[in-house]
Amino acid sequence: MEFFSQGLQGLIDGLLTGGVYAMIGAGMSLIFGVMRVVNFGHGDFVILGMYAAFASNQYLKLDPYVSLLVVLPLAFVFGFVLHRAILAKLLGANDQTTKLATLGLGLIATNLVLLQFGTEPKTVYTEYATNAWRIPLFGLELRISEVRFYAVIITALLIFGLNMMLYRTELGRAIRATAQNRLGAELQGVDTKKIYAIVYGIGVVLAAAAGVLLLPLLSATPTLGSVFTNKSFVVTILGGLGSLPGAIGGGLILGVVESLGSSLFPLMNSHFGANYRDAYGLIIFLIVLLFRPEGLFGRTVKRV
């Protein structure tokens, strides 16, 4: 019985965390789908979002959720300018080169944060951080953490918005056209350089939003950047590089695997538990990479 209730609780926690992973992965997947570049700095932008929310809480006394209104537009401008100023210069180069440039940009971002805020973990105090709703279900009591719940709701809204933008607006049509065939889009009068910059901006927005939503849950540490970059790789590879619905599925799977791995294993063998939390996702990632590099869903590498 304990196994079952632990499992169910793990599943719920996993789905809730997975929602945020899905958003990180969606940004990465969008960038890959349109620009064909693996964004190695993605996790560092999550950290940037976390610290932006921390700073606006510290200096402007904003609630982390309210700070989204400030952080997200800034993140978009940041990503747009970053692409215009640096990545656009590398458009003709091979993807290896651009990949290394994104890695360098991520390093700069993280280390500037490190320089400004130091290595000590930063936390934001909110009254609701530890609140949870208790839901009785078949004699079991399940806890739904309030913060995680809000995170999932906001993630869902952002992803829904992204989807509407991609499929219901002229800009979205231009983005999809650029993803399918850059030259073709160019011939139809789409300014693909601008589209690239916009897409990079949106990618950074999604990463930063995830950072803001995670802030009440975790404490912000600059060195977590590579952890989040790893997670976004796992999510996008699970779902297939460049596929948006895949990224959502991949994010949920990663969340559940991590959560179940660390909540169920201790019941059998205390040694593998929370200690290996990050390893479960990576192992699944390697297995998928080896046997289904096109991702769990879809036959071929799908584009946005």
């Binding site: 640096i86 180069a93 590879i237 990050d278 990632f285």
Partner: protein, 329 residues
């Protein structure tokens, strides 16, 4: 006229062995001049060694590994763990070489079927898994505390804790890698690797087995890197997962080689010095943020010198020697 050409050709006309000897002897003078900066010299040279090893796969075969910390860690931990049982470091290094070679072989056999970024992604994942193992399997690695070296046996009457002895051991390691680089440039394997780097399909059409060529380079890289890992342990006197196995170490190794110039023999060495010195100068300002130097330099190099410092210099030299030849870049 003939004098003019021989002068401008510079690097290309110097016989490889002479060039190698000049470079090694010049570096060998370091302890005599900068005796008080031995630690800086050893770490720069050691990372030059790691980067040179990285270049075997990253430069010549074009496969970027971002997980080389694994081999550094295996090399260091093999020496440290066997040291507890009274086994001398050089035997520990041999074991490290063996383990690294086997790991690289198995890992490469599985992942080199994939192309593009997939290999790079797998290296990061494997490196993270190995780090988590080293952190959690206390019985083998003492977890986050790490392993200490107590006393060391002397090697041919030399004290292995003497900084100068360590410096020349590391220099020997670097010299071996440079010699290997010269050999690779003219060897069949080197041509195979370059062919695979430029175009896998065409290489295959010529009868080259790309997966096997990459695998050979990967195994060699792993073995060389693990020797460096063993030397790093001797220098530090201790090892723990947060020093040797973290992602920043892997990134540093790769970026040194890329900034210096991939596939140019001397590029990684130049890169290590060009980055090592400003990192040291800004150490007190940057503290833990020392990777900022790497980040800024890699972006600048990628945008303005895509072939790296040595690569761009060689291209400039080539253009000077062949003023009439138009070379598409």
């Amino acid at each position: 006229m003939s004098e003019h050409t021989s002068q401008t050709r510079g690097m290309t006309t110097v016989p490889p062995l002479v060039l190698l000897a000049i470079v090694v002897v010049t570096i060998g003078l370091y302890p005599l001049i900068f005796g008080q900066f031995m630690n800086l010299g050893i770490s720069i040279l050691l990372f030059a060694g790691f980067a040179l090893a990285w270049d075997i796969l990253g430069g010549w075969a074009g496969q970027n590994s971002l997980g080389n910390a694994v081999f550094v860690g295996i090399g260091a931990y093999s020496v440290a763990i066997l040291h507890q049982f009274g086994i001398a470091p050089w035997w520990g290094m041999l074991v490290g070489i063996g383990v690294s070679g086997l790991l690289a072989w198995g890992w490469g056999a599985l992942t080199f079927r994939l192309r593009g970024s997939y290999f790079t992604l797998s290296t990061i994942a494997v490196a993270e898994i190995i780090r988590l193992i080293a952190l959690n399997e206390d019985w083998l690695t003492s977890g986050s505390e790490g392993k200490n070296l107590g006393s060391l046996p002397s090697l041919f009457g030399l004290d292995l804790f003497d900084r100068r002895v360590e410096f020349y051991l590391v220099l020997l390691f670097v010299a071996a890698l440079l010699a290997f680089g010269h050999w690779l440039k003219t060897a069949k394997l080197g041509f195979y690797l370059r062919a695979v780097r430029e175009d896998e399909d065409s290489a295959m059409a010529l009868g080259i087995n790309p997966a096997r060529a990459k695998l050979t380079a990967f195994v060699l890289m792993g073995m060389f890197t693990s020797i460096g890992g063993g030397l790093w342990l001797l220098y530090l006197g201790r090892i723990d997962p947060d020093t040797a196995l973290v992602i920043p170490v892997s990134i540093q190794i790769a970026l040194l080689a890329i900034i210096g110039g991939r596939g140019t023999i001397y590029g990684p060495l130049v890169g290590a010095f060009i980055i090592g010195i400003p990192s040291e100068i800004f150490r007190s300002v940057l503290k833990e943020a020392n990777l900022l130097v790497y980040g800024v330099l890699i972006v600048l190099v990628i945008v303005y010198l895509p072939k790296g410092i040595v690569g761009t210099f060689e291209e400039w030299l080539y253009k000077r020697q062949h003023p009439l030849e138009k070379r598409g870049s």
